[in-house]
């Protein structure tokens, strides 16, 4: 098939006075930039490989050691838990802000303001030490009898404090993202749905949300990456995540550089996976909005990592074909 096509092209020679042959635009600066980048990359790679201070053998030793993997697992679980809390809570807060009536909207607004204002580090320390403020927690009628009560100190483990701190802060950012996504849906959509006899929750579920999701997903994925990195802060409350684990190890072995490198490589891998997830979601939910065939997933991901190199290296015949 390729044969037929290419021979068809050569079979139409640019006869003098005939149809002129069309050539793609030249990109001399792209080639120049590529050369410069290749040289710089080679220098950097050379340095990475040959600098003895990086101690690659130490990296290799710890990269999949039981301790590091346990820390990695805590980081992943914390990120996942935080994201679930953030999305559920954040969507609820956004819903209140947009349709909860003036009182609830005000409360939701204050919530977002406070949680976006207080630095995460402060929040983590605050929640971890909350028992100093409220030693006992009880469930009951306000100013009336208590049904259940417990010791806050026992309940507020580093894990819980980390989830509460990260989750609350994340929910404030998710709320803003969701609100922006919902506002991006034309009012005419809601109007048409109301005119058909649909009501609030159904309109949200079937009309507004599906159109808001393609707008929300990229920012949500961004929050996810930020959350992943923010989990590193939990080392201040002695939760053994990836960073705290390598810190503990190099506190013992005095090899900070290779161990920080170990953690960095894991963070790079996790972020790459999240980026792939993001592109997958965008492609899944952005279908009707897009025209033409989407580019391959891996190329999307590379582009998402900020590397225009991907588009440079992969000939843009797809785009040209449209």
């Amino acid at each position: 098939m390729t044969d037929i096509r290419s021979s068809a092209v050569t079979a139409a020679p640019p006869a003098a006075g005939g149809v002129p042959r069309r050539l793609p635009r030249r990109h001399p600066f792209r080639w120049l930039a590529l050369a410069v980048i290749l040289v710089l990359a080679a220098m950097f790679a050379h340095g990475l490989v040959t600098n003895p201070n990086l101690q690659w053998d130490v990296v290799r030793h710890y990269f999949t050691s039981a301790d590091v993997l346990r820390g990695l697992r805590v980081t992943i679980e914390l990120t996942a838990g935080t994201m679930i809390i953030s999305i559920v809570l954040g969507t609820a807060v956004a819903a209140l802000q947009m349709s909860g009536g003036p009182l609830l909207a005000g409360v939701a607004g204050v919530y977002v303001w406070v949680l976006r204002s207080v630095p995460l580090l402060v929040q983590l320390l605050f929640w971890f030490n909350i028992s100093a403020l409220y030693p006992r927690l009880s469930l009951g009628v306000p100013f009336g009898p208590e049904f259940v009560s417990g010791n806050v100190n026992a309940f507020m483990t580093p894990w819980v404090a980390a989830l509460v701190g990260l989750g609350l802060e994340g929910s404030a950012f998710v709320a803003e993202t969701v609100r922006a996504g919902i506002r991006s849906v034309e009012p005419g959509q809601t109007e048409a749905a109301r005119a058909l006899g649909l009501r609030g929750p159904a309109i949200f579920r079937w009309i507004v949300l599906p159109q808001a999701i393609p707008v929300i997903i990229p920012s949500l994925a961004n929050i996810l990456v930020i959350t992943l990195k923010a989990t590193a802060l939990v080392s201040v409350i002695s939760l053994s995540d990836l960073l705290y684990t390598v810190e503990t190890i190099y506190g013992r072995t005095y090899q900070p550089i290779p161990l920080l490198l170990t953690a960095t490589i894991w963070y790079l891998i996790l972020t790459l996976l999240l980026t792939l997830l993001q592109r997958g979601l965008e492609r899944r939910f952005g279908r009707s909005a897009r025209r033409g065939a989407p580019a391959p997933l891996w190329r999307d991901a590379l582009a998402g990592l900020g590397s225009g190199l991907a588009r440079f290296v992969v000939p843009s015949n797809r785009r040209a074909a449209r």
Partner: protein, 255 residues
């Protein structure tokens, strides 16, 4: 004829300090086609939106098929209905928009079946059968699987009409259904309106298509400054209007 399909009595509505409708009166009988004409800002769209309570009115009454829209009479007072009851009333009133307002994330077929399924609980198979019949009726049988974006303006508006018809409305409201269309696409939409009128649908049509108003409507209402200045058969309104304001409006249109 039995009781009127639509009665608007002494309706007033303002946005802040701006009065948009004042002492607005209009009656539409069952099976009647009434065209609303008037200058920009005269309150045509606002009135349509009040008929299905998309906008609440400040005073007066709107009834459709003998039922007060949006309120319940309790003694001498009117109490606003619950969202569920208002939604049920709206589902009996079809509305077609100037900008089509199709749901871009849904295929044409799903645009049509969504409301019957979610509002009326019609099962998927029945809804689909009825949707295909409705598309047939507006001449778009082949477009069920297309996304709205891929359709021309005239096709989108016909889908909009079919979507409204799916709820088997007793009254259809059209807000400038052809104003956003290329001139050569206007005819195909007006043809659908003509068919509906011939089929006995009660219709209230805001339009700038005077030829259409003259040919299809039973009565034409001229609006200015938020109330009906003059209302009567098209021949009377277009050829021998009683009011000076109507005359000057028509003169400006080159009538």
């Amino acid at each position: 004829m039995s009781e009127p399909m639509l009665v608007a009595r002494d309706v007033s509505k303002s946005y802040g300090r701006q009065t948009v409708l004042s002492h607005f009166d209009l009656t539409v009988d069952e099976g009647e086609v009434v065209c609303l004409i008037g200058p920009s800002g005269s309150g045509k769209s606002t009135f349509l939106r009040c008929v299905n309570h998309l906008e609440p009115i400040d005073s007066g009454e709107v009834s459709v098929a003998g039922h007060l829209v949006g309120y319940r009479r309790t003694g001498a007072r009117l109490r606003e209905l619950s969202p569920r009851e208002i939604a049920a009333q709206r589902s009996d009133i079809g509305m077609v928009f100037q900008g089509f307002n199709l749901f871009p994330h849904l295929r044409v077929l799903d645009n049509l079946t969504l409301a019957p399924r979610k509002v009326r609980g019609v099962d998927a198979a029945t809804a689909e059968t009825r949707a295909r019949a409705a598309l047939e009726r507006v001449g778009l049988a082949g477009k069920a699987a297309a996304y709205p974006r891929r359709l021309s303006g005239g096709e989108q508006q016909r889908v909009g009409i079919a979507r409204a018809l799916m709820m088997e409305p007793r009254l259809m409201l059209f807000d400038e259904p052809t104003s956003a269309l290329d001139p050569e696409r206007v005819g195909e939409v007006l043809d659908v309106l003509r068919d509906l009128a011939a089929g006995g649908m009660t219709m209230l049509v805001v339009t700038h298509e005077m030829e259409f108003a003259r040919a299809v409507s039973h009565r034409v209402a001229f609006l200015d400054g938020g109330s009906v200045v003059e209302c009567g058969p098209p021949g009377q309104i277009f050829d021998s209007p009683a009011e000076e304001r109507t005359r000057s409006f028509l003169r400006r249109l080159g009538h």
